[in-house]
């Protein structure tokens, strides 16, 4: 069904078919970008719109080898990476605070969910965990989306989840101390 819609857009430049494709795929793309931009919805949605615009313009280069959603994730991630070059404060602010002092630990204590802890990871670590656990992409698909070697994907997933675990331990230990 999805492939037929893609073919219609490729063949006839069909806006209606592309709108259907957008309805089917907008949620994961927007969720992904919102998490990457630390829940800055305005910027995330702007990036999502740019992603779909770019997808429409370049849809002829999609050959159906990967899932259409993976292809969209690749564009979305590229959009995000190029936007972070201009707006570094959006993605690195929380991570950079780690270098400061004890404030980082204090902030961790205030966090209550795993989603909250995500913002303490670097953008690429966040992306890799989200693609794998939230959006069910395989290691191979993530390697294509993020344009990194397969081995790096596996290592990064393990490292990032351990990092999250250590953040949660700090958060939990402080909670226990308070009690």
């Amino acid at each position: 069904m999805e492939l037929k819609l893609v073919e219609r857009v490729q063949r006839e430049n069909d806006h209606y078919a592309f709108e259907q494709l957008m309805r089917q795929n907008q949620s994961p793309i927007r969720q992904f970008l919102r998490r990457l931009t630390l829940q800055n919805q305005a910027i995330a949605d702007e990036l999502a719109q740019e992603t779909f615009l770019k997808a429409f313009v370049h849809i002829k280069s999609y050959r159906g080898e990967a899932k259409f959603l993976s292809w969209l994730f690749k564009i979305a991630y590229q959009q995000f990476v190029s936007s972070t070059r201009k707006k570094t404060e959006l993605t690195n602010a929380v991570v950079e605070e780690k270098a400061d002092d004890g404030q980082f630990e204090q902030r961790l204590v205030a966090e209550r969910t795993v989603k909250d802890l995500l913002k303490y990871l670097k953008p690429d670590e966040r992306a890799i965990l989200l693609l794998h656990f939230s959006h069910d992409l395989t290691h191979q698909e993530i390697a294509i989306v993020m344009q990194i070697p397969l081995g790096t994907v596996k290592t990064q997933i393990r490292r990032s989840r351990l990092k999250l675990k250590s953040f949660a331990e700090v958060s939990n230990s402080e909670e226990t101390d308070e009690k």
């Binding site: 969720q31 719109q49 615009l53 313009v57 989840r161 675990k165 958060s171 939990n172 909670e175």
Partner: protein, 111 residues
């Protein structure tokens, strides 16, 4: 906070986000697509218009003379500049370009 980071299913549940879907988003993107298409068309029409103007300037005088029955020796304008050009082909080319321009205006609702 529960700490089960080595359990894939638990981590998946923890990272799950609410489903987002609104028609405004798709509508905005479609508008952007239309704007993008219009912009790229405008560049195309501008180039087409320039091409027709240039060809008109270079060859119109010659074509007029040719169609009004004057002999090839009296051809004045472009034949002197570009003696290798065949006026008949140039004439057909200019007419073709004009048709493309008119068709484009109608087809893409530019006017």
């Amino acid at each position: 906070m529960k700490n089960d980071f080595l359990d894939d299913d638990w981590l998946k549940d923890e990272l799950l986000d609410e489903y987002i879907n609104d028609d405004d988003f798709s509508f905005s993107v479609v508008k952007k697509i239309e704007l993008h298409e219009t912009k790229s068309k405008v560049a195309f029409y501008a180039a087409l218009f320039l091409a027709i103007t240039l060809f008109g300037f270079l060859f119109l005088a010659d074509l007029m003379m040719m169609f009004s029955g004057n002999s090839a020796e009296t051809l004045a304008n472009a034949q002197k500049i570009l003696p290798f050009m065949q006026m008949e082909y140039v004439g057909i080319f200019v007419i073709l370009l004009s048709f493309v321009l008119i068709w484009s205006f109608e087809d893409f609702d530019l006017i």
